[in-house]
Symmetry: C2
Subunit: 202 residues, 2 copies
């Protein structure tokens, strides 16, 4: 069975649980509390020298890191990773966009406000991130508003799983989704996919 | 012929030129000056709604964005994208690590200091980024110091091209590479690859 080294409130870890739920892949969870420094402890650094979660470990000891690469690896050959060259490249574009432009500006304010409970202390950092987060939301809004129900190939895929994680959690970081109606509709479409689980659901 | 929408001092644009040099792929360059706001002008937003470079456009009008996805797309089927499932996943891990943890902390200080010439004005931002950049350098150092000459499969690939761009430019952002001897050796190995071009070389 696969092992997921997991911090349950992390959007990046949630992506992996959501993929496994959709594909019916069984796994066990090992809890790593980021707030207690467990991802920076020697025991975890031996598993991932980058000191991060998620990490997925196979029974033979192979380990996979970077949420987008984990999605790609375990979705290969399934309905969740479109198989044409063109769709593969489009999927990769969205996975990279999510990590370069969306996860940090949408995820960090949530981390400061909701997870650390220190929104006031980090208000300058949050103020700097908000315009970047709004740009990221506007970018995904413009794609969806062009009549695309999903991000690649008109069907639900790992591109949606990757983008959904921090996009649907954005309000926890103080973002208002009212100006992004196509994003709100897409969030409901993702939630309605058979096999969907919420971030706080096993 | 391919068209590259290009800002010559951008590390992300350099990755694409370096790939095309290695593969002998001809292309024409269209200059977009980030400092003059050209990537945020209507003419460019029509090409890439994210308002960024690089963008590669084919003769049939298909457009590719996100430097890592461009590397993947054009390296597919060549010696620069290892073909096994395992090596593909490892390549993707490094492409995502580069965008999530390396490009911004190594690239932004260089942008403030060398490109804008405003290191003093942005010194607080730079000070916040430096520990993250040092972590990213330590991560690639630890991989290389384990006896890996390159990042995937013991040979030069797009993972090296992606990581090389901002890693070799880190000193322009005030980073000292002395504590990272394996990174320094690898930089020299990448420079010695047949077909290599420098960032300011066509």
């Amino acid at each position: 069975m696969l092992t997921l080294y997991d911090f349950p409130t992390s959007g990046n870890c949630y992506k992996v649980r959501l993929l496994f739920a959709h594909l019916g892949i069984p796994f066990r969870r090992v809890h790593r509390d980021i707030l207690k420094g467990e991802t920076r402890a020697a025991e975890h650094l031996a598993i991932n020298p980058a000191g991060k979660v998620p990490v997925v470990e196979t029974e033979t000891g192979a380990r996979y890191v970077e949420s987008g690469a984990i999605l790609w690896h375990f979705a290969r050959g399934t309905r969740l990773l479109p198989g044409t060259v063109e769709d593969e490249t489009r999927t990769l574009q969205w996975l990279l966009f999510e990590q370069s432009a969306l996860a940090i500006p949408l995820g960090r304010p949530r981390y400061f406000i909701k997870i650390l409970g220190k929104g006031g202390e980090f208000k300058d950092d949050i103020a700097k991130l908000m315009p970047l987060g709004q740009q990221a939301l506007a970018r995904i809004e413009s794609h969806l508003a062009e009549g695309n129900p999903y991000f690649v190939g008109r069907r639900f895929s790992i591109a949606d799983i990757a983008l959904f994680a921090y996009a649907h959690l954005a309000p926890d970081g103080g973002y208002d989704l009212a100006p992004y109606p196509a994003v709100r509709d897409w969030i409901e479409r993702v939630r309605a996919e058979p096999g969907h689980i919420a971030i706080d659901e096993r």
